[in-house]
């Protein structure tokens, strides 16, 4: 690697992958609970498994983003990290806080956890994705602030590039919008209104900036295309993402008690939200097609291209599928939402984090690229996970359409639980697709341990 301090990225990447495995294990448990209701009950109730599954997703992606920043910023800024020690210290703080939170979820009932972690002082718990106890939320803020201080100081003392500035903008946005998780008004409409300022403005706002910066960085490295060309694409993509994504928040405001004009604003702007993802797909293909060298890390190139395609499908196409207010009137909160959520998170954020890990890890381990054998296994894992995710999405979409019909369109609508029985076949097929996904993930982990003819750094 070019700068010694980039090495601090490695523990972040390892933790991210470990937590990813745990997330998928809980995903499989959840998938089984959809069809066998008392599976692992009372040890792991459905609501707890769901909370662990979604919280682990967020935490491991944050580990991935932080690792990516610690790897990228020294190289972009052409200087050592401001404080590698601080970065390592925060790694342990974040890991321990995260682990304690998950242990808390699994061992203590949620109300007791709330009681012992200060929720009566400032009530922030109980909301989807933001279930973390107050102490954990404060911990996240501390870690984020120290991380941002470290990264910002590094950028300030070194070269400023469009990629590092866009990355910083995304990371600062991530931290700032998380602060709305502390605001929990008793009015349910206001509560939901600001809850989306964390959830939506993360995944359809500032995270897109982080994603675009990571993708741009890897594409510069693996294609050899001039930085100026890639940076211009980056400007276009982030402008499109922010123009469409910020007011696109309105697609969450249709039926929660907000004024009706949100149905127009939300529909129009979120109908445009696929455009930045479309631009990202064109960008990834364009850069790889005009590459000026054949980079030996084929797996990283594959992940980069896959990110472009799957983000467009998951976030763009499946988002558009149910984003217009007249459609959403029927599909709101159905399995169609789950289908979109799965493919969008995988395509946009899981894959981009794996892209940077795939590119950076061999270098962090002292080689320019992994052995061909290891890369073949990694590419197998790419196809297994990606195809499995496509099927998970298709089965959940089918379940969602049937659910909407039986529960909301039919002349004699059925109850929610009665409909769940009717769509069980799709849940079973989703579960089997999940098993294939897990096998793909194990293959990915195994690829790190495959020996072979490696190309040493400096060869």
């Amino acid at each position: 690697m070019k700068y010694k301090s980039q090495a601090v990225a490695m523990p972040y990447f390892i933790a991210a992958i470990g937590l990813f495995v745990a997330q998928i294990v809980f995903g499989l448990i959840l998938g089984m609970q959809y069809v066998v209701g008392d599976f692992l009950f009372p040890e792991i109730p459905f609501n707890v498994a769901r909370m662990v599954h979604t919280n682990l997703l967020i935490v491991w992606l944050l580990f991935g983003f932080m690792g990516a920043a610690y790897y990228m910023v020294p190289e972009e800024s052409e200087t050592e990290l401001f404080s590698p020690r601080l970065a390592l210290a925060m790694f342990w703080v974040f890991l321990i806080a995260g682990a304690l939170t998950i242990i808390g979820y699994l061992t203590v009932d949620y109300a007791t956890l709330a009681k012992y972690t200060g929720n009566d002082i400032l009530a922030t718990m109980g909301r989807e994705f933001l279930e973390q106890p107050l102490l954990t939320k404060i911990g996240i803020v501390v870690v984020a602030l120290v991380f941002l201080f470290n990264i910002t100081m590094t950028v300030l003392k070194g070269r400023k590039t469009a990629i590092s500035v866009v990355l910083l903008l995304g990371l600062w946005g991530l931290a700032i919008f998380f602060l709305f998780s502390f605001y929990n008004p008793t009015n349910l409409v206001l509560d939901k209104y600001y809850w989306w300022w964390v959830v939506h403005l993360w995944v359809e706002g500032v995270w897109e900036l982080i994603m675009a910066a990571l993708l741009a960085f890897v594409l510069i490295k693996v294609t050899g295309v001039d930085r100026e060309v890639i940076e211009k694409w980056l400007y276009v993509i982030i402008a499109l993402a922010l123009v469409t994504g910020i007011i696109g928040t309105g697609h969450h405001y249709y039926w929660i008690g907000t004024p009706e004009y949100w149905q127009w604003w939300g529909s129009i702007f979120s109908a445009l939200e696929p455009i930045p993802f479309f631009a990202m797909t064109v960008f990834a293909f364009n850069m790889v097609n005009r590459r000026r060298r054949e980079h030996p890390n084929k797996a990283a190139v594959l992940w980069a291209l896959g990110t472009g395609v799957m983000a467009f499908l998951g976030a763009g196409v499946w988002g558009f599928l149910h984003t217009l207010a007249p459609v959403n009137y029927y599909t709101h909160g159905s399995q169609i939402t789950a289908a979109h959520g799965h493919m969008a998170f995988y395509g946009a954020y899981v894959m981009v984090v794996i892209t940077i890990i795939s590119y950076a890890m061999p270098i962090l381990r002292g080689r320019a690229c992994n052995s061909p054998k290891a890369q073949v296994l990694e590419m197998w894992s790419f196809w297994l996970m990606t195809i499995a995710m496509v099927f998970i999405t298709l089965f959940l979409t089918a379940a969602g359409i049937l659910q909407v019909w039986l529960q909301r369109v039919a002349e004699e609508p059925m109850s929610f639980m009665a409909v769940q029985d009717q769509v069980a076949l799709f849940y079973w097929m989703r579960e089997w697709s999940g098993v294939v996904f897990f096998i793909g993930l194990l293959a990915y982990v195994a690829s790190f341990f495959v020996k072979g003819k490696e190309q040493p750094a400096g060869a």
Partner: protein, 157 residues
């Protein structure tokens, strides 16, 4: 340093596509430098995607007009992209809209399975056509010929 091992590790430097794609640090030009391909070919691919994503029918009519005016264009590359986009728009449109309508007519609008199969079919095929269109657009931008998988007419040898 990082650059040295990477170059040593590289299987081989790839020849530049065209000299005109070379960027300079002083005067980068988004349109000329990023899109060395013929504008008509790029326009054809863009209209193909516009028809699928932004302005259905209107995009198709514009593409047909473009084809009518330029179908005997001296550049084989322009003819290639015009022919591919027009052919795939017609065939793709037929199987996309025609089969979707057939699914609903045969299954009935009040049958939930018509909606399950019809919506999934439409979304998957529509998305596949867009992805193929992205590849076509990239080929046009980079001055390469392109054949749409399955639906595109064969390229002359």
């Amino acid at each position: 340093m990082f650059a040295a091992p990477l170059e040593g590790c590289a299987i081989g430097a790839r020849p530049r596509i065209e000299d005109s794609t070379t960027m300079t640090h002083t005067d980068p030009d988004l349109l000329k430098e990023n899109m060395p391909g013929p504008p008509l070919a790029i326009l054809a691919e863009a209209l193909f995607l516009i028809n699928l994503m932004l302005l259905p029918v209107i995009g198709f009519v514009m593409l047909m007009l473009l084809w009518l005016v330029h179908r005997r264009h001296p550049s084989p590359l322009v003819r290639n992209h015009l022919q591919q986009t027009v052919a795939v728009s017609i065939k793709g449109g037929f199987i996309l809209v025609g089969l979707s309508v057939a699914i609903f007519l045969l299954g009935g609008f009040d049958n939930p399975w018509s909606w399950v199969i019809g919506v999934l079919y439409f979304v998957c095929l529509h998305a596949a056509l867009i992805i193929f269109g992205v590849m076509g657009l990239n080929a046009a931008i980079l001055r390469h010929p392109y054949r749409y998988p399955v639906l595109g007419p064969r390229l002359p040898d």
